[in-house]
Symmetry: C2
Subunit: 162 residues, 2 copies
Amino acid sequence: MRLTTRGRYAVTAMLDLALNIEKSPVALSEIADRQGISQSYLEQLFSKLRKRGLVDGTRGPGGGYKLGRSAKLISVGDVISAVNEPVDATQCGGQKNCRGEHPCLTHDLWQELSLQIQTFLSSVTLQQLTDKESKNSGAKAPLTSLTPIHMQVNSAIKTSIF
Amino acid sequence: MRLTTRGRYAVTAMLDLALNIEKSPVALSEIADRQGISQSYLEQLFSKLRKRGLVDGTRGPGGGYKLGRSAKLISVGDVISAVNEPVDATQCGGQKNCRGEHPCLTHDLWQELSLQIQTFLSSVTLQQLTDKESKNSGAKAPLTSLTPIHMQVNSAIKTSIF
DNA sequence: TTATAACCAAGTATTTTAGTCAAGAATAGA
DNA sequence: TCTATTCTTGACTAAAATACTTGGTTATAA
């Protein structure tokens, strides 16, 4: 699981799509304009998103992109992993040249952590993010207002997993 | 919050340090050897880790690095953010050129998500990872055996936050 | 038929990553 | 004191990923 500005672009664009669901399909030029991302770069990202079935494109005038399935069923993890090449993680493939004591062990630990991050990102959907927005749009409360709850639950994870 | 192989190197090296706590300080050459990372590259990473107080270095023969504080008090988030440059995230700094409808909104949503990831990574300590190892070292159970529990808790987050 | 917009492929500039090289400073042990 | 060891620092380079450009082609609504 890699996490760079590339993934941010993809998630941002998908959120833009989810927020403009009523006027779908949405043209890439609009997204590029709104989010300040190069259109051709977006095209490349959307090519990968399309191959994963995360978006559907319709050509011609009035065409554009819409979500491939309900925002409820698209996770942030889906989007991020769609635009990133898979990474191999360990340099020793299986468990070949591990003569030392803790070499491959640390790799396993990293892999475990990586899996946890992946699981976490797969548990957050686009719908949840946009819902949170509409909840706060009336009130002036910051988006981060729910964070304390999150931290509570997170510490629950902490004690129950380890 | 960025997550690349650079962060993996740093976390891996810190785990190596935590696992070899009994023979500390540990020389960089050993870590480089065990983990298959260039020593000079590790030197650069450890320079940043040292500036954050995550490691202490002692020179001379028999010298090396040891954890700057208890493994209980060092989170994966600490390590990863130490070796990465902070990223600005939005292209419109404050909220200047946001004339469209949902432009900065998506940025806020991303920032919120980013915060959640950060919080998650800050809730996992080196100690927890190494503890998990020693628990499983006797039995042949894979490290991922606890994942289902994690997923359960994660879905608990899902329903309670959103 | 024409304008629109998805699709596609190749190439380029920039940035980041990963690594090398070379030197210096502290220190344990001979 | 001398020496080997190891951290510490800086500059420089190669490779990879990222972000973007250019120039097309296809499909389709009007």
